[in-house]
């Protein structure tokens, strides 16, 4: 998942993300949840709201657009195959409204002016179809013909102008355009593309199109106002469709996932050549959603390996969030906690660790198969003497199950019970060299997770019920959240497992 330098915005999402900005310092992001409803989180200029369920049962990625301040329109396919619509009018959410049709692709929506929306999707006949809002009513559906084998991608470089791109059956990029009076097209723009098309317009009569080629490099074709140029290879080996955004004239920012799952970025600033590729890190499981609310500002949204939404931004000078101290945490579940949820335990840990300037990144959560004969007896873990540097045979056996965790990542095994030499305990943090880990019992307290990882980082018990490392029981913390004192923070920051 995106670890350090990506901000977790939580949630459990099951689609690509669509983000839109209707004014400076405002972002609205949409994705499908595990219940297939549409979910929404928003940045109001100072903090994130949400997640808010907008209901519905959607079967495609959501697509959000804005034609003016305080206005959002979101589209998605429903279980009936029709296009459905919800809108924010500045005061309240309207919808869901069915806009009919039977569509077989994600929707591309574009606004070429206030109170105007054009929506494109593939129909059951594989032709491209259009429905539009003219400010007072919905027209459509109108077939624009063709046989397309990708999602359509629509952009507009000015009032009453639309350009739509899709892959044809010959794998070339094809183009139709609306000139204010009539539809031209279909025009083949050649190439052999293996992804949806990404397109952006950084000025009037300018279009830049990107797609992955047969060699998995990123390719670029552009309309310079007179002619189509390209295809130009921008190299790389990309494993997602590209995403492009422009925050101003003569500026393009291109993003795609690399073979290592990280986000990669190339940019063009109007000169003869492109910058990049630069890795922006992370391990992502979605396409990249990019939006810009001002010149020299970019906000990226992706899904991580834990299915949460993550955010990274360019503020004109640097990428945020600022590189800080991070602790990568992996949870391996033999038996889940019974008194609190893992989310509650991780959130409680995060709250305390944040006071030391440590971001706890839940890098993965994996349920282990306790019917596996090797694992079954370890569900009730015998931690031996539970002393630092002296793991028991069972802790060593558990430490073999750390798939996906790096050598400085901390793995916590959630077991049914944990015991040491003289009886039952909530958890234990002794671990073999180069395998930082702890075991936590299903009956542990809300703060046991943070407490045990505190031991992993080198902290010892104290006799103070207002501190995380209390030896008097984290169930008995008197003034939650419990504290860390400065020397403890220093120890944690100096640990090889925070970086």
């Amino acid at each position: 998942m995106p670890s350090q330098n990506w901000e977790s915005l939580g949630g459990v999402i099951t689609s690509n993300i669509s983000s839109v900005s209707w004014s400076a310092n405002r972002i609205d992001s949409f994705a499908r949840g595990t219940d297939n409803a549409l979910y929404h989180r928003w940045w109001n200029g100072s903090s994130w709201g949400g997640w808010e369920s907008l209901g519905g049962v959607i079967t495609s990625d959501p697509t959000a657009v804005s034609w003016g301040p305080n206005r959002i329109d979101v589209f998605a396919k429903g279980t009936d195959g029709a296009m459905h619509h919800r809108w924010w009018n500045g005061t309240a959410w309207g919808g869901w409204e069915s806009l009919g049709g039977v569509i077989t692709s994600n929707i591309s929506a574009v606004c070429w002016g206030p109170n105007r929306i054009d929506c494109f999707a593939r129909g059951t006949d594989n032709a491209m179809h259009l429905r539009w809002w003219n400010g007072s009513s919905w027209g459509g559906w109108e077939s624009l013909g063709g046989i397309i084998t990708s999602d359509p991608t629509a952009v507009s470089w000015g009032p009453n102008r639309i350009d739509v791109f899709a892959r044809g059956t010959d794998n070339a990029m094809h183009h139709r355009w609306w000139n204010g009076t009539a539809w031209g097209g279909w025009e083949s723009l050649g190439g052999v593309i293996t992804s949806n098309v990404a397109a952006a317009c950084w000025g009037p009569n300018r279009i830049d199109c990107f797609a992955r080629g047969a060699d998995n490099a990123c390719y670029h074709r552009w309309w310079d106002g007179t002619h189509w140029r390209g295809w130009e290879s921008l190299g790389g080996i990309i494993t997602s469709q590209p995403t492009v955004d422009s925050w101003g004239p003569n500026r393009l920012d291109l993003f795609a996932k690399g073979t290592d799952g990280a986000v990669y970025h190339r940019w063009w600033g109007g000169g003869p050549s492109w910058g990049g590729w630069e890795s922006l890190g992370g391990v992502i499981t979605s396409n990249i959603s990019a939006t810009s609310w001002a010149a020299n500002r970019l906000d990226l949204f992706v899904r991580g390996t834990n299915n949460a939404m993550f955010h990274k931004w360019w503020d004109g000078t640097t990428w945020g969030p600022a590189a800080g101290i991070n602790l990568n945490l992996h949870i391996k579940i033999l038996t889940g906690p019974t008194r609190f949820t893992i989310a509650q335990m991780v959130d409680s840990m995060r709250e305390v660790y944040a006071t030391a300037g440590i971001t706890v990144t839940l890098a993965s959560t994996q349920t282990l198969d306790v019917s596996n004969p090797t694992l079954a007896p370890l569900n009730d873990c015998d931690a031996g003497t539970c002393t630092s540097g002296n793991p028991s045979a069972e802790q060593i056996a558990l430490s073999n199950f750390r798939a996906g965790a790096g050598s400085v990542d901390v793995v916590v095994y959630m077991c049914r019970s944990v015991s040491y030499v003289s009886g039952s305990i909530n958890g234990c943090a002794s671990f073999p060299a180069n395998r930082p880990m702890a075991v936590v019992a299903s009956y542990a307290s809300r703060y046991t997770l943070g407490h045990e990882v505190g031991h992993v980082l080198g902290l010892n018990h104290v006799s103070d019920n207002n501190r995380l490392m209390t030896g008097l029981g984290t169930d008995n913390i008197t003034n939650p959240p419990p504290d860390l004192i400065q020397t403890e923070k220093n120890t944690m920051l100096a640990s090889p497992f925070t970086n």
Partner: protein, 153 residues
């Protein structure tokens, strides 16, 4: 003088209790309330009460462990199997360990075997030997055979 229930709960409801220190502060008068605590729904408290009962090392305390050993939650039976290592000189404890070696749950059987090992309970060697043949997981097979070797010396 016996502790109050709240005092006892506060003493045992720790993340990593140091049982010998805790039990050194208890007397036989504390056993009834420990048994009460072992019946709490919160397993963090109940299992630790069972661990203390084991260290009390009396027939009355084993009576309390017996209830845990029959609990429908295997977490409690694991705690009972483990706690009995500190009461194994008592025939009532050995009888209970014998029962727990037959438990349907592998975690319970594992801790019962470890208790046999710790306490060198030779009277259970036939059952331990049979477990070495019956157990299906490598860990349990190896453990059963190792324990049998030790108690058969």
């Amino acid at each position: 003088m016996a502790h109050t229930k709240d005092e006892l709960k506060k003493m045992i409801d720790l993340d990593e209790p140091e049982y010998p220190i805790i039990v050194s502060k208890l007397t036989a008068d504390d056993i009834p309330l420990l048994i009460e605590l072992s019946r709490e729904a919160n397993m963090a408290v109940a299992t630790k009460a069972v661990s203390c009962l084991g260290m009390m090392n009396t027939d009355k305390a084993v009576d309390g462990i017996k209830i845990a050993a029959a609990h429908n939650n295997p977490v409690m039976r694991v705690a009972a199997a483990h706690a009995l290592k500190n009461s194994s000189a008592l025939p009532s404890a050995v009888k209970l360990i014998d029962t727990l070696l037959d438990d349907q749950d592998v975690g319970v059987r594992k801790f019962a075997l470890k208790t046999v090992d710790h306490s060198n309970i030779k009277s259970l060697k036939a059952k331990v030997k049979a477990m070495g043949d019956k157990e299906t997981t490598d860990l349990m097979k190896v453990l059963s055979k190792d324990v049998y070797k030790k108690i058969n010396l």
